[in-house]
């Protein structure tokens, strides 16, 4: 197995700093290490994924008067409508349903947005990847970054809903930070693996998108976990979406969360990363023949 070793060292040429790249297939390194180096190469090129991530959003809202305010506006409207409808249908007070729904929907949009974007990550970035050496991981980081930006545009909706309905925020809410960190770690390996499979087997793009639809219904996003009959509630522990929605949402709502959720989330994030690094190391350049 031949693999590349890439080291970057800044040098000055005509006052402009550039990296010196030395790569050789003669150096044999393990797949695990190659996978790790791929993620590092992608992360170090933060300017590239920052620029790609921001550019995507900017182009989407270019020339519209309200620009990216539309992100906040469209989520806000659907949360308000669904919240009121649900409260009427299930005969729950709006003041109870809407805070739950606002937090739920905003978080679901983050999680599902990342997975949905991952299906086409490499095929839509083919031009970048084939025109100059850019780590494929940079494209993955760009899509996670973009979805996080959308998420932070939506956070004000949750804040406004909480304020209007006088929903208290305890110190517990700070748990959102480790929850987001775990989400990002999971998103990195999961998106990379999904994006690689989807670029090789194009049918998977549609399969994953359909599964995502399905996941929306079996995950407590617009319904509360306690709506499930008690004897099937444990099934939620098998649903990674329910785990991540749980650790992201329940701190905000101030609802107690079983520690098992956190344990499973940590297991998914780091276990998945460890398992996928050799995969990433093996396919990180080969996937370019498939885009």
């Amino acid at each position: 197995m031949d693999d590349a070793l890439v080291t970057t060292r800044p040098i000055l040429i005509n006052g402009a700093k550039q990296g010196t790249r030395r790569h050789t297939t003669a150096r044999r390194i393990t797949r695990l290490r190659a996978g790790w180096l791929e993620l590092v190469e992608g992360a170090v090129a933060w300017r590239i994924w920052h620029v790609i991530g921001i550019g995507d959003l900017r182009r989407r809202y270019a020339r519209s008067r309200m620009g990216q305010l539309w992100l906040t506006l469209s989520s806000g409207i659907s949360i308000a409508i669904i919240g009121v409808m649900w409260a009427l249908l299930w005969k729950i007070p709006v003041s109870e349903m809407l805070p739950f729904l606002a937090a739920s929907m905003v978080i679901w949009q983050l999680v599902s947005g990342i997975i949905s974007d991952a299906t086409t990550a490499f095929s839509t970035s083919a031009h970048y990847l084939l025109s100059q050496r850019i780590a494929c991981a940079s494209v993955i980081f760009a899509l996670i970054y973009r979805n996080l930006l959308v998420f932070f545009h939506n956070v004000p909706i949750v804040a406004v809903v909480f304020l209007v309905f006088g929903h208290p925020l305890s110190l517990h809410a700070l748990l959102i930070l480790p929850a987001l960190a775990l989400t990002v770690i999971s998103a990195v390996w999961w998106s990379y693996v999904v994006a690689t499979f989807c670029v090789r087997f194009r049918d998977l793009v549609h399969a994953v998108q359909s599964l995502l639809q399905l996941a929306f219904y079996v995950t407590p996003v617009i319904w509360k976990p306690e709506f499930l009959p008690e004897h099937v509630r444990w099934l939620q522990m098998l649903n990674p979406f329910a785990i991540y929605i749980g650790i992201l949402r329940d701190p905000l709502l101030g609802e107690p969360l079983a520690p098992t959720y956190w344990l499973v989330a940590v297991g998914i994030a780091f276990g998945g990363l460890a398992l996928s690094l050799p995969f990433i190391g093996r396919y990180r350049r080969r996937l370019l023949y498939w885009v």
Partner: protein, 251 residues
């Protein structure tokens, strides 16, 4: 010192298609590489057993028909493709001029695009911004630099891309066809700029269909044919042999 060293480099593409077999005849007629079937998948042998040594001062032209493997070889040297066989070692920072507009955003202003393009060329934001005034001046776009790039004519857009791309001095440049920009008046300036840039570049690898460009800028030539090296050596000799077969095929 910069160097590029390839030993026994082979690159095979799998071509996947839901209807692989029907696809095969189409590829056979279109592509130059050696095509064969492998477990129901079409495999194109884009490069086979390429040996190449380049060092400071080398200006290599890659010539050959469409589909001969020129772009694949450029991608291997740029570090995009990693060959399945053989070894490659590149010392020195490689700058790809394959798409000199890479990273530019039509919705951004000229100034913003200088920074965007600069970032893709490996500059920091501060470095790109520091470079902006001289790039803006060279591009002669004046007040247009405050306008979104989508309002530019194709020529103006290329002028800006050219001005940014040629403002950073790399050690190794990889090009698919010679870059250039603009109308007759700007062209002289552009040629002067390219000459200066290439003059300071340690290694240049240029794939080109123009024997004028090849003779003008290169001191070595590599003739690729269906992924194999047919000839490697001084430009006049290689070009002569290549032209002979081109004319032979036409006659």
């Amino acid at each position: 010192m910069a160097s590029i060293s390839l030993a026994g480099v082979s690159v095979r593409y799998p071509v996947f298609s839901p209807r692989t077999r029907a696809f095969k005849s189409m590829i056979l007629s279109r592509l130059g590489g050696t095509v064969r079937m492998h477990d129901d998948t079409v495999v194109v042998e884009a490069l086979s057993h390429i040996d190449l040594e380049l060092t400071d001062g080398d200006r290599l032209a890659i010539v050959g028909h469409n589909g001969a493997g020129k772009t694949t070889l450029l991608r291997v040297i740029s570090g995009i493709y990693e060959p399945q066989q053989g070894t490659i070692e590149v010392q020195g920072n490689v700058s790809s001029f394959v798409d000199i507009t890479l990273g530019m955003d039509p919705e951004g202003t000229g100034w913003e695009n200088i920074v965007l393009r600069g970032v893709f060329m490996g500059l920091s934001f501060a470095e790109a911004r520091a470079l902006a005034p001289s790039v803006g001046e060279f591009s002669e776009l004046g007040e247009y630099l405050d306008m979104p790039v989508r309002t530019y004519s194709a020529g103006m857009f290329m002028r800006l891309a050219f001005a940014i791309t040629t403002s950073v001095q790399p050690e190794i440049i990889v090009m698919d066809e010679m870059i250039g920009a603009g109308d007759a008046r700007f062209l002289d300036k552009a040629i002067e700029r390219v000459n200066a840039l290439l003059g300071y570049t340690k290694i240049v690898v240029l794939a080109s269909h123009s024997d004028f460009i090849v003779t003008r800028f290169c001191n070595k030539a590599l003739w690729l044919d269906k992924g194999h090296v047919r000839a490697l050596g001084p430009v006049p000799e290689v070009l002569e042999r290549y032209m002979d077969t081109v004319q032979g095929a036409a006659a």
